[in-house]
């Protein structure tokens, strides 16, 4: 490993919930408001995982009040406390961008992996 990459290597999380695009997950992230800190939960479908070492991210999509909301998280960020996997989804691609064009009940429909 070269020196530049090794700088942040210790910050990588060793254990992290395993999930992939299509899974429904709950993300617990730390939010600071003023000087108070609390845990915020974001629930939705994983639409992508973008690899990149320490800067690896995943994006979660949900429909809130009829509007699609996507939020991406840095996997190794200390602000991302934990991830609960609620349901494994059966999908045929790695990035679920096609969900962005869907409206109504089809927008969140994904077959469950048996």
């Amino acid at each position: 490993m070269d020196l530049v990459q090794s700088v942040g290597a210790a910050q990588k999380k060793k254990k992290f919930a395993e999930f992939a695009a299509g899974d429904t997950i709950k993300v617990h992230s730390r939010v600071t408001e003023g000087n108070k800190e609390r845990i915020q939960v974001f629930e939705g479908i994983v639409t992508e995982r973008k690899l990149g070492g320490l800067s690896e991210t995943f994006t979660v999509r949900r429909i809130a009040h009829g509007v699609g909301v996507e939020r991406s998280f840095l996997i190794h960020s200390p602000r991302v406390e934990k991830v609960d996997v609620l349901r494994r989804g059966l999908v045929r691609r790695a990035k679920l961008y096609y969900l962005q064009e869907r409206v109504g009940s089809k927008a969140t429909r994904i077959k469950e992996k048996k």
């Binding site: 020196l3 530049v4 700088v7 942040g8 730390r30 320490l54 800067s55 190794h76 960020s77 602000r79």
Partner: protein, 213 residues
């Protein structure tokens, strides 16, 4: 003394303590040896000469060899003078990244990447002409001033060679240091390509970062 010579290694991002994802430049800084202390009485000004990376005696000129011999320090490839009276060091001392701490502000001087012969848009941030409607002026320099002047005014913005010049980036925050591997991590970008020599000094125009509340 908070001065050091190093080599730029490259950039990456790391997490700060508050969870912020910070872009950092990694510098292999030091260890440097104090080659000589110049004093006002002997040299007319105060300065400290730092040496970086050992040199082979064979490759040095006779005059340089003599200089190292006289000062009785191991020969170095990179020598740089830092102005100022630094009473905390003396000849032969080692200067490492341990003199830096997270939160410090520093300036970094280096040689910028060569851009070759560049036009006015890249070299002087010109805006260029229209792209279509038969404008015929796309990336050319436009007016160069007075038509009656009978000469070109000195310093007018023309195409030419860009880059490979001495550039100083001011007021960079030290994010962390690695004393074991002699690494210095600074927030943001510094001039030059990878493996290029850079000089670090305390920020001359340090100002407190506006507090975000």
């Amino acid at each position: 003394m908070k001065h050091i010579i190093g080599r730029k290694l490259g950039m990456t991002s790391i997490f700060a303590e508050n969870g912020e994802f910070v872009p950092v430049t990694v510098i292999a800084a030091g260890p440097c040896q104090v080659v000589e202390r110049k004093t006002k009485d002997a040299h007319g000004y105060d300065a400290v000469v730092l040496g970086f990376e050992d040199a082979k005696l064979k490759g040095l000129t006779k005059s340089l060899r003599g200089r190292f011999e006289k000062l009785s320090v191991a020969p170095k490839t990179v020598l740089h003078e830092f102005r100022g009276d630094h009473a905390d060091v003396k000849g032969g001392d080692l200067v490492t990244v341990s003199s830096f701490a997270a939160g410090d502000r520093v300036d970094v001087t280096g040689t910028s990447k060569g851009k070759g012969f560049a036009g006015i848009i890249k070299r002087w941030n010109g805006s260029g002409g229209g792209a279509s409607h038969g404008s015929m002026i796309h990336r050319q320099p436009a007016s160069n001033g007075d038509t009656n002047a009978a000469k070109t005014v000195k310093g007018s913005r023309r195409p030419g060679h860009l880059g490979v010049e001495r550039v100083t980036t001011l007021n960079l925050e030290v994010i962390s240091t690695d004393e074991e591997r002699n690494l210095l991590m600074l927030r943001g970008t510094i001039p030059g390509g990878k493996r290029s020599i850079v000089f670090v000094r305390p920020a001359v125009r340090a100002k407190r970062k506006a507090q975000v509340s």
